[in-house]
């Protein structure tokens, strides 16, 4: 007959088992990490191989050897090249631009056109970032949701208006994406300053869910709903 070991012995055994378990788990975790890193390097290596193959197989890349280094260049150099190229290409338009800049409406037009060109916006953002870095003034990039919003209970607000106000609580990027879905007849406000700004707050998702839920749309009404 096998007798149970004394309690003290059991506890020692259990301690050594849990220590072993911990070691095993640590080893497994290390294994996972190593596999992750291996995968990453394999992918990176393949990426570079593909790039090389692409360069070697493409005659236009071979001719324009300078272009080969473009992906390796730092963003600032790429932007500088872009600005230089743009400067040269737009040389004939400069007199017209100068003329436009003389008038406020013209300046506004130029500014709005420039803002629509993504690389230029990036460039402007880059320059702003540089300036901010040097002045060392930190401004958090917070999306300021509208506060002190009028209550729907006051003054006979329509369901459509209440729904619109609720969607205004969402960040600019989410609002821009929702724009095409016609959730409200009045378009959502576009944020021209930072149209890409995204909030990852979970509450945003919940508010979106509540606002597009059957019950909510029934109460508030929505554009195009049957």
């Amino acid at each position: 007959m096998v007798t149970a070991p004394p309690l003290a012995e059991t506890s020692v055994q259990s301690e050594s088992v849990s220590a072993l378990q911990a070691e095993l788990e640590k080893a497994q975790w290390d294994n996972v990490q190593l596999r992750r890193e291996l995968l990453r390097w394999k992918l990176l290596a393949r990426q570079h191989e593909d790039q090389l193959r692409e360069i070697q197989s493409n005659p236009s890349w071979r001719i324009l050897s300078v272009v080969r280094i473009l992906p390796e260049l730092k963003h600032r150099w790429k932007l500088l090249l872009l600005v230089a190229a743009l400067g040269l290409v737009t040389l004939p338009f400069w007199p017209v631009l100068t003329l436009l800049i003389l008038f406020p409406a013209g300046r506004d037009l130029v500014w709005r056109t420039l803002w629509k060109i993504r690389p230029l916006r990036d460039l402007m953002g880059f320059i702003r970032q540089k300036i901010v870095r040097h002045t060392e003034v930190f401004t958090p990039s917070v999306y300021d949701r509208p506060v002190n919003v009028v209550s729907p209970a006051e003054g006979g607000m329509t369901g459509e208006r209440a729904h619109w106000l609720l969607l205004q609580q969402l960040c600019p990027q989410r609002r821009a994406m929702l724009q095409d879905y016609g959730l409200t007849t009045t378009p959502l406000v576009r944020d021209d300053e930072s149209p890409d700004l995204l909030s990852l707050s979970r509450a945003e998702m919940s508010v979106l869910r509540v606002s597009t839920n059957g019950q909510a749309t029934a109460i508030c009404g929505s554009a195009g709903s049957p």
Binding site: G125, V142, Y181, A203, I219
Partner: protein, 956 residues
Amino acid sequence: MSMIVDLQESEGWLAASQWPSWLTSDWLSENDARLVCRLTHPDDLTALRAIAPLPERLLAYPDYSVLQQHLERGDRDKLHRVFLQCLGAEQYVTIAPGSSPPTSPIRLESRLQQGKLESCKPQLAFVSPLPPAASGVAGYCAEILPYLAENYDITLVVANPEDLDHSLASMYETIDHKQMMRDGGRFDRVMYHFGNSWFHYEYFLLLQAHPGVVVLHDAYLGHCIISNHAQFGTTELLQKVYASHGWAAMPDCDGPVKQTINLYPACASVFNGSYGVVVHNRHAKEILYQSLEPEMLTTLGEVPLARQLKRLPDRSAARQELGIPEEITLYSTFGMINPNKCLVELMDSWVSSGLANNPSVKLYFVGGGNRDWEMENRISNWISRLPDPQQVTLTGYVSSEEYDLYLGASDVALQLRRNSRGESSAALLDCMGAGLPTIINAHGSMSEVPDETVLKLNDDFTASDLAEALTSFATDTESRREVGRTARAYVKAHHSPATAASAYRDHMEASYIQSPDVLIDQLQADIIGSKLRELPADKIFACSDAIEDLMRCAGVRRTALAGSQLFVDISSLVQHDHQRGVQRVVRNILRELLLNRYLGYRVEPIFFDSATGYFLYARAFTNRFLHTAPLHLSDDTVEAMPGDIYLGLDLCYRVAQQADSRQWLQFWRGRGVRICHVVYDLLPVSLAEGFTSDEITVYTNWLTAITAISDRVACPSRTVAHEYRQWLQSENSGAPAIPVITEFQLGADMEARSGGGALNATEQALLEKLQHQPYLLMAGGITPRKGHEQVVEAFNELQRQGCRLSLVIAGSIDENHQHYADRIQQLGDGSSSIYWVGCVSDAMLKVLYQRAAGTLLASSGEGFSLSLLEAAYHGSALLVRNLPVFREICGEYAWYFDATDSTGLATEIKTWFGAYRDGVLPDSSWIQSVDWQRSAAQLANSVIPARALSGRSRLL
């Protein structure tokens, strides 16, 4: 835990004279119970943990004023009940101070019941591209729809219902994405089919609005995300990579977009937004386990890819239709033409195997779709160079009828892959289902196909391996037939649409029933939805936010970020970098933590924003700090989950002291976030004469505050740890449980990753001046504690004695000590051997260390000394005051002095200088130093608990 003991309000328990005698740690253990309590005041937590048995089983959550203000009692009770359900307990009791042991605990209805439907055929919104869309997913979904329809009343959700295949349109109700967005709330179930192409892009937003179960056809979603490049450029891709993989992934995203897409699945939003996720193979699961943290993947399931066995035309009929002679052995490869199909290797092997010269064989590339012109041109060029260009045919895109003809006409199929994104190959199953002997390589999910059903090459096969396989099948007809029969039987048994549809249903029902997210979404819709006509929008948002936070307290993953978080508090650094020692430490450790992929935590720098009264993610700062491409992410309020860690790395006194910021640390600690702080030194306590009474008071208050709220305190040296222990004893602070005290070393390699930069003209001129004279270097901020006064006087004395040793003083002047610095400068004004170089660049400091005869540290007290470590790291001999902290770091590899006056120090320096000329100084390069990478790892190890990894390694 099987029982919750609800203490209700903390206030009552702290006012009560004594804790119930029956509510002991033994009682909690016996009943497998945990305590839950609402904190009337944030600081109640400290006192409550002092009186509660097993404080680790106490869950304390905030008393959300916004919910108290805007929700009625009934709604709050409903909310509380869901909160308790989410804790996963079977029963609960509510007790008050002085109450007797509970006799009849209330049973909590299991949350397993919440998603069950009474109707036998639930309404299902089926969101997927469908024929005639040129997508593999579209064809696949059309095949499984009839089988799903046996269990669900299906509504199809497609981008353009008017383009939908007529047979589908006539069988099912169809709506477009806009209607789904507006009207999706009416469905009992939603199923999304996500693939890595532009067809699926809009599903991200639909999923956010109407969660459901996701069938993930590809583990990587980069191409899908970037398909909206016109609207958001690469920003959206970067944002999703950040949310899925954290800051450590961002430097990899500085390269070409293709690199980002290939490296990172970027699919966390699919897991965060859905109730469950299904993949079709084990390889996809492996990719996800390797790329995301296991906490995210609890809802992940596997369902075999469905494939209907087709009624194909017989071989002769098909060949007659296609104009292929009977006697020809036909090799075919099916699917879109792209580099991932190993077609280059196939072309090479075709020639090397000799088949190119065999008039009785032909090769067909069947398929097109998303055309890869480069690859097609390459194949066309290759064909034109063959001895018989008619031998190989590139069919281009074919209709499903033609596709079936080619399947029926073929003798051997070739389905080779590389660069798998976790997809399952439908074309492979088509070939196997058609009874074709198929040559594959063991890549990705194809490695899971049983060996006897195909001719399987190694993943990284060579051209000769493939050539051998091609020739063996060309001659061995019997073997071909046998493999084909086995393959067909395998597909019939394991991939039938009926089996897959039933597995989809099981997974979907289980997800809807088990996921706490369903319960919380229903609650939000119920409580918040009913307030839409009453409350202003901002209050609705605030209520929703509070409910989310409450559910996070219960451990439900309600956050958009993947993985557990290590919050690094840099409240001081984000405002202003004072360029002192502590900031240097914070910058270096922060950088190393951010770039470390092996922590098992995503590192998130945070700061307290006094304007909003919240801790915010420092995303804008970190973006700039790491010099990564702009992410355009908002600095949102921090979303803390049980198991996360807070590390007070920065020396910011106000965070732990002031009530508005400290309350968050208490709230987080109450839900199981480990609170850790770094104590750099205790100089205001141990060297009080060097500080004003205000400084001492502020410091002591801070030390008391962090002692009360921290689980761990990390010190940069043994001496500091010892001093902290002594302080705890002397204070007898009455803290219920003192923090665990750990140690770590500071890095010595300056700003290792910043490169150091180049010397400017002034610095070069100074170096030239110093070139031919030996000098002692004093580096570090100029404060009374550092002993500059004594050193300058000693050098004046040495100059009078004709000693040829110079002194170089490098370091910034603290504005609080400007008068002191002026006085020291006046003292040394007459001396030609003293150089004041002020604050210098890292590059200059490095050269100064390397060229110095030695480095002098005359501090009367230090917690850590970066200049000491840096000097040793760069091989400079050390002349240091005899302090315990210096003894700890340097051991026998420094020259110590005890002199307390300038004359004594002058004598010591003279002796030291003699030893220098004789070359007999202790060699400081033996001092053990670490770099910042190691230093950050040591700190991380001292704050990160050993984690339960059983779930993590389940698959791997």
